[in-house]
Structure formats: structure tokens, C-alpha cells
Amino acid sequence: MKFLEDIILKLGAVDRRIIFVLIGLAVLIPLLTPISLPVRETPTTEKFYDGIEDIPKNSKVLVSFDYGPSTRPEIHPMNVGVLRHMFRNGHQVYISCLWPDGIYMALDALEEITFKDDPDKDDDKPDNISTFDIKEYEDYILLGYRPGAEAVIKGLASDLRKVYTVDANGNFIDDIEMMDGIKNLNDFAYIYSGSAGYPGTFEWVKYGGDPTGVPMSSGTTSVQVNEVIPYVQTGQLIGLLAGMPGAAEYEKLINVPGIAIQGMAAQSFAHIVIVLFIVFGNIAFFIKQRRDRKY
């Protein structure tokens, strides 16, 4: 028994570099050799999916890219999934960004889902599930980034054309046909924000969704979930995509498995390693405490 306790004590005092190596391996191995794990939909993700399904077909929707490359692994799969879901239902998508890097994320997401004709294939067509034959100024418009955080949202709620006089390509909003009939947020059927912090979900709810009454939802990082979840219960957000697991659940619901589902194995193993370390650390802590009391 003492031998076992000594081993646990040694494990309890393990060098942090060993922890780093084990975490690295726990993440790397499942990514290199994909392992399939069952993804189970949670009610908040199902609510989110149903919320988008409930938008009348061929509506105008606003999608905001409020994140950057650091949180890309969590938020990007959600936004790609949301764009697929929107285009599948024939909606016109208006893309805004509250983060300066959001525009690059939006361009990447659009590139991922835009159908590219392969000259080597004769019957090459978009499947309209994962890739779409979408065109700028017909199916989507990239409004771009504006500084000002909540003031931008408040401006959009009042008069979009005062916030955006030109789009991301420098074309005048008034000259773009797709912008006809769009004055403010009330002219959209739905608002979605893929958010990694400030400005993001909170600001959209407070200055966008609530004052206008336009239904909205959001995808957030895992650490934001416990702050945002009250808005889901009150109905101010129609469901929520919570971190990478939320993105994986959503990929399953829209039936386009992607990087989030692939990443679930890595996240699962990393969590198991962390939990094991916590358990070993605590056992070692109790053994040490007991020994200290004895002497």
C-alpha cells in the first residue's frame, strides 16, 4: 500500500513539461488518426437549428462575424454551418463584422462553401448541401467591419445606411440592388452572431435583437456559455451553439460533418487527460495531508 501511495505521490508532483507533452499527444493523436465518437445533440443546439428552420424561405438574414483567428477553431465551423443552412433555405445573407479580423473569417467561410467548377469533371455541380453556386450581390453581401462595437449595432438598428455607406469592396450601398428595401435591422428576418467575446452576443442582444424584436441567435466560445445561457432561457436568443461541441452537434443536424466533429475526439481525449491529472493530483493531495498529520 505504501508503495502505491509513493507512486501516486510521485505522480502528484509530476513536472509540468510532462503534462504539456501528454496534453499535446492527447490532442495530436486523434487529429492525425481520426476517431469517430458519437455526437449527441443538446436541447440548446436543437433549438438553434429549429430557429433557423423556422425562418420563412428566401428571407433576408444578417450574419455577424465577431471573432478572429485565435477562436477560429471554435466559432468558424459554426459560422460555416450557419451559412450552409441559410443558403440551403434560399436566404439572402448580409454579412457584418464587429471585429476587424471578422472580414477575413467571413471570406474564408464563403470560400469554403462556394462551389468551384472542376474543369476535369463533366457533370460537376454544387450539391446545395455543402457547396453552393452563390454570387456576391445576389446571394450575399459583405458589409465589412466598422469600429464602434455596440454603437455600430445601435446604428444598424436605427439606420444601416448611416453606418455602412460603402460595402467591404468600396461600392456604394445605395448603388447595390441587393440593398434595396433594407433600412435597418427591422428589415431582416433573423440575426445571427458568431461571437468570441466583446463586442458580440451580449451587445447584439441588448442593442440589436431586443429593441427591434428581430429573432436572433448566437454561437459562442465554451467559456462564454455560462454568461450567455440566461438569454436562451428567456427566449432573447433562440438556442445557442456552445463552443466546439455545439458546432459538432450543429454539423450533425445539418448533415455536413466537418472539422468540429473531427475535433471532438481531440477535445474528448484532452479533457480525459486533464480530469485524470486532477484526480491524481487530489489523491496525492489527500495522501500527503494524511502523512503530514501523522508526523
Binding site: R16, A151, A168, I272, I274, G281
Partner: protein, 328 residues
């Protein structure tokens, strides 16, 4: 005193009260001010604040470098990176379009449009072809390309996000990987920190520890592979350890372990060991409950607290009691 104190306070009080009144008074002018004008003022100030922030960053980093304070080399890198991003953002447009092809520089775009004139014997005639016209000097060919406007640079402003611009390249291949690396490092620090700091020292810490483990396992797919019955057995042994610590009677502990495990096994055999039943011990269901009940209650309390705090602080600004923005 008047200029530095009373006038700023009066301005803040007036505009604060005016903006607040827009929620209560049905007046179009006031509403337009609060919803449009004030937000545009804010947007303009926010845009200038970016410059102010950049200047402040430069000032701090330059001071560090000039005084050779510890870590000054990182400040030097920060300054160099700042000017690199500044120059390629404001002065290097890039992204020259030739048809659907994009080139980083004007020269490479022009080169792509000029071809050398070879005769049937593959011997260069000394001329250059631009748009099927023959030119006898390189300069003439380049001028022709420019005059015919055979290539077009991307518009200023749009260049930062267009493929083929140096800024976009910098974002894609320098900023993105560095940013993602910084964030990814968090996983390692979280693992190391939780191993060292997550200790069941008292009841509150134990509660946090157990909730943390349930959330960590319940949120990921592997949590749904752990049967409720496994959790019940673990719980039975954990309670046994707890009883042992307090009662210190082996017979009672053995009785508890045998009794509870027997009960769990009996129920399991009767029910056919369904993985999700009883739901109260199924990790994904348990984590969902933690999120939607105790966590929700706590978060809502915090949100209400923040809301009341904002109301109080705003009123302090309007009444001139809060003067931190004056540097007091």
C-alpha cells in the same frame, strides 16, 4: 477650474440626460439624436481612438527600447511589426488583376502581359508583343500596357482583404498562425494549472471540482459513452471513502460498499443496464442540468447586478458625481 472641470461635467450631464430621455420622451428630434447622431459621434471617436491607441502603444514601446528596460527586444519587435503592418496597409496596395489572375506587384502584372516576339525559327526578333501589337522596346511595351489599362489594381481599402495583397498575405500567413498559437497554448496552461490548483480543500472547492469534472466530461462525446451505472459505482465508492474518513469503522464501510453496489447491480440487471438511465447520473444530462439550473441562476444574478451597477454609474455621471474621466 471652469474649463477643466465644470464645463466637461456640464457637457456629460447634458448629453447623458438627453440620451436617457430618448427612452422616455416621444420626440423625433431627441430620438434621432440618441439613435443616429450620438452613435455616429461614437463611431467617429472610436475610429480616432484606434489612432490614439496605436500612438500610445508606440510611445510605451519606444520608452522601453530607449531605456533598455527588461524585455526591450520584444518591444523592438513590436515596433518593427507595427511599422511593417502600417506600411503594407497604407502604402502597398498589391493585388493587381489581369483578367482573373492576381499578382502581388505591378511589375509582375505588367510582365505577365508582355511576351517576346519569336519568329518561326524560334529566334527572338527583338520586339515585344502586347495585346497582339508589336513594340520594339521594353519601355514602349510597358507604356502600352499602362495606356491600354490591361491590368487593374484593387481599390484602396478593399486591398486589405483581397487575395494577392501583401496585407492579406500578412494576415493569412503571419497574424493568423501566431494568434492561433497563442490561444492554443491556453490548453497546456489550463491542464497544468488545474492539476496544481484544483484541490478539494473544503466543501466549496469540492463542489467546484466535481462540477468542473462533470462539465468537462459531459460536454464532449466521450461523456455519453460513460454509463450512468459506472457513475453510480464511482459515487458509491466515493461515499464509502467519505464514510471511512469520518466513522473509521471498516465494517460500516464494507457494509455500505457491498449494500450500495449490490443495489446498483440489482437495479442494473432488472433494467437491462441502459446507458442513459437513470438520467440523473448520465454525464451529458447532468452537465446540461448544471448549465441550465445552478449556473443559470448564478449568471442571472450577476447580470442583474451588472445592470444595477450600470444604472448607478450612469446616474453618477449624469449628476456629476463620477469624475474619473476628468482624471480625478
Amino acid at each position: 477650474m471652469l474649463l477643466k472641470r465644470y464645463i466637461p461635467i456640464a457637457i456629460v450631464a447634458f448629453f447623458g440626460a438627453l440620451t436617457l430621455s430618448a427612452w422616455f420622451i416621444d420626440n423625433e428630434t431627441i430620438e434621432t439624436f440618441a439613435n443616429d447622431d450620438a452613435t455616429q459621434f461614437f463611431d467617429i471617436i472610436a475610429a480616432f481612438a484606434v489612432f490614439l491607441g496605436a500612438l500610445n502603444l508606440l510611445k510605451m514601446q519606444f520608452i522601453k527600447v530607449l531605456k533598455k528596460q527588461s524585455g526591450w527586444i520584444y518591444s523592438a519587435i513590436a515596433i518593427a511589426s507595427f511599422f511593417f503592418a502600417f506600411i503594407i496597409g497604407f502604402f502597398v496596395r498589391g493585388a493587381y488583376f489581369v483578367g482573373e489572375d492576381i499578382y502581388y506587384g505591378e511589375k509582375s502584372a505588367i510582365d505577365s502581359l508582355i511576351s517576346m516576339d519569336f519568329n518561326d525559327d524560334e529566334i527572338w526578333s527583338g520586339g515585344y508583343i502586347v495585346n497582339e501589337n508589336l513594340y520594339y522596346s521594353r519601355d514602349a511595351a510597358e507604356n502600352a500596357v499602362r495606356e491600354l489599362k490591361l491590368f487593374s489594381p484593387v481599390a484602396w481599402g478593399a486591398h486589405v482583404q483581397t487575395d494577392g495583397s501583401l496585407f492579406q498575405w500578412m494576415f493569412q500567413y503571419i497574424f493568423s498562425p501566431l494568434s492561433a498559437t497563442m490561444f492554443a497554448l491556453l490548453a497546456f496552461f489550463v491542464a497544468s494549472a488545474s492539476f496544481r490548483a484544483f484541490r478539494a480543500r473544503n466543501f466549496e472547492a469540492s463542489l467546484l471540482l466535481v462540477a468542473g469534472i462533470i462539465i468537462m466530461l459531459g460536454r464532449v462525446p466521450v461523456g455519453s459513452l460513460i454509463s450512468s451505472w459506472t457513475i453510480m459505482y464511482i459515487l458509491s465508492f466515493s461515499i464509502g471513502i467519505g464514510i471511512n474518513s469520518y466513522v473509521k469503522n471498516r465494517n460500516i464501510v464494507l457494509g455500505w460498499i457491498l449494500g450500495s453496489c449490490g443495489l446498483i447491480t440489482g437495479f442494473g440487471m432488472t433494467m437491462g443496464w441502459p446507458i442513459e438511465q437513470p438520467a440523473i447520473f448520465f454525464l451529458p444530462a447532468l452537465q446540461e442540468w448544471i448549465y441550465l439550473v445552478p449556473n443559470l441562476a448564478g449568471s442571472r444574478a450577476i447580470l442583474i447586478g451588472i445592470g444595477l451597477g450600470i444604472v448607478a454609474t450612469s446616474l453618477r455621471y449624469i449628476f456629476g458625481l463620477e469624475k474619473s474621466y476628468l482624471g480625478e
